[in-house]
Symmetry: C2
Subunit: 329 residues, 2 copies
Amino acid sequence: MSDAALPLALDAMGGDHAPAAIVAGARRAIAELGVDVLLVGQPEAIAAAGGDELEVLACNEVIGMHDDPGASVRTKKDSSLVRAAEAVRDGRASAMISAGNTGATMASALLRMGRIKGVKRPAIATPIPVPGSTPTILLDAGANADCQPEWLVQFAQMGAVFATSRFGVDAPRVGLLSIGEEETKGSTLVKEAHGLLAAADGIHFVGNVEGRDVMGDDVDVVVTDGFTGNVVLKTLEGGMRFIQGKILEAAASSPEREQAFSVLWPALEPLVEELDPDTYGGAMLLGVDGVCIISHGSSSERAVVNALGVAREMVAADLIRAIAAAVAD
Amino acid sequence: MSDAALPLALDAMGGDHAPAAIVAGARRAIAELGVDVLLVGQPEAIAAAGGDELEVLACNEVIGMHDDPGASVRTKKDSSLVRAAEAVRDGRASAMISAGNTGATMASALLRMGRIKGVKRPAIATPIPVPGSTPTILLDAGANADCQPEWLVQFAQMGAVFATSRFGVDAPRVGLLSIGEEETKGSTLVKEAHGLLAAADGIHFVGNVEGRDVMGDDVDVVVTDGFTGNVVLKTLEGGMRFIQGKILEAAASSPEREQAFSVLWPALEPLVEELDPDTYGGAMLLGVDGVCIISHGSSSERAVVNALGVAREMVAADLIRAIAAAVAD
């Protein structure tokens, strides 16, 4: 039996809108995409959310959004997150998807699935929308707050495989996030990583890039430590939301402006849609031995549908084997 | 003679639009603000740019935007940047302002003016626009790519003094940039700095903040290392410019939309103005023993006028003495 014939293990209990949005997303994905979903969670909660006809892997515990990741994964062995990761490990599911506690999702995946052979540290790869072009893959977006230079080389390898599998980018251009294009610019970590990346085989390394390049289309993969990557992600999210809010405020400030905004809206809507984090269904934890999708805590039904679609696609593309090959080179 | 009676030393040769925009800005600031300006640079270039009636400190060398900061400051002793810093050191000017090579501006200021007693490392403090509120002071925005935790405590002290002197913020709220609000989140540097900040006297420390808070109004000063700070700054600049470009594209996509956009524009213009980095005239290098303003390389005439206004204000507020007092506490 190939992995692709297995259902996708979806954490029904994780996320700001769980279980309602999760169950609704599962139902829609089954109907619209024809995916096979294994909902992991408390049967009563799932049934109450309208999931009583869906396949359920029953468990009794829930890891909360603010629980300590390490401790909760150790102590809540019957939690939906731990059970979802075990389902992948045990060959009951082909992938795990959660909009829950990010740290606990990482810990569950790492402890239950393990790492791909040769991978030093898993990393979170997040697609950053670039309207009019393929997204930029940013990694590490938060798995490792402190990094070693050689981990960044693996992030580059894994990120490039992901850009190809997920967005069809041929020979992805990899940039190293720094504070100047010259190789002498940056922190000690970045300067050391620059040398390693420039010397590495099989990576199309284009050198240092800056914060402004993340939303540009001169680079396909941006490699950084998990602290900087997470800060960049949240800065962009905050900035975009801020601007959208201010524009809506301006548009609502008089009836004439409201009318004018409605004329502009058809040209702006695709942009807003592309910038919506729900569009890409979430980030991927690359380097663990199974497909693991980390969705935004605020995931809507639509985000869940997209995440399930991506999970199926990454299973079909045999992403894990491709990463293993890239890292083994 | 008080410092405030001395002219402001303005590097006529630094910046993408130098000397034309610099000289034009100086003329306008003299006329409109009544400031006293000492233009530092090549007399012929200044005269050709329309500055022949202005007071000039003549020098013959120029440090280019891409010159190595350390080497150029050592070898180009008759450069406008080095001479501007010397003018402050020697009591010929009350402040230095440059839109030139940022690294060389820092090196000139540091080597010629020296540090304020007790300051471990100077830091670049950049006001991040928060339309509808006072800007957030982000520091370090690029002076120190690798930082020690105790430096961040001084950045907090200096940033708070600056928020008060520059924007009149009483008891500024200081946040530490991290990747989660809990004090256990973040890099080793951030976790150590958190403990020191929480224990420090005289700082209104509100704990960890995230990238999304930089443009919010829950915090007045955001402290981080110079690598992360510079990445945040460029990410925001890039993101904002990107969105503005996309909106203009949408607005230009049909005559009806163009018309609609012109109706909205009066409500959007103040926002665009507030987000324009030229509005605040530049960043300040805090911790050196003299007022030093680092303007954006792309500074326009308007940015130069604003930078001169800020420089005069910071001299009048005796910022240097206030920082010395805060750091000595």
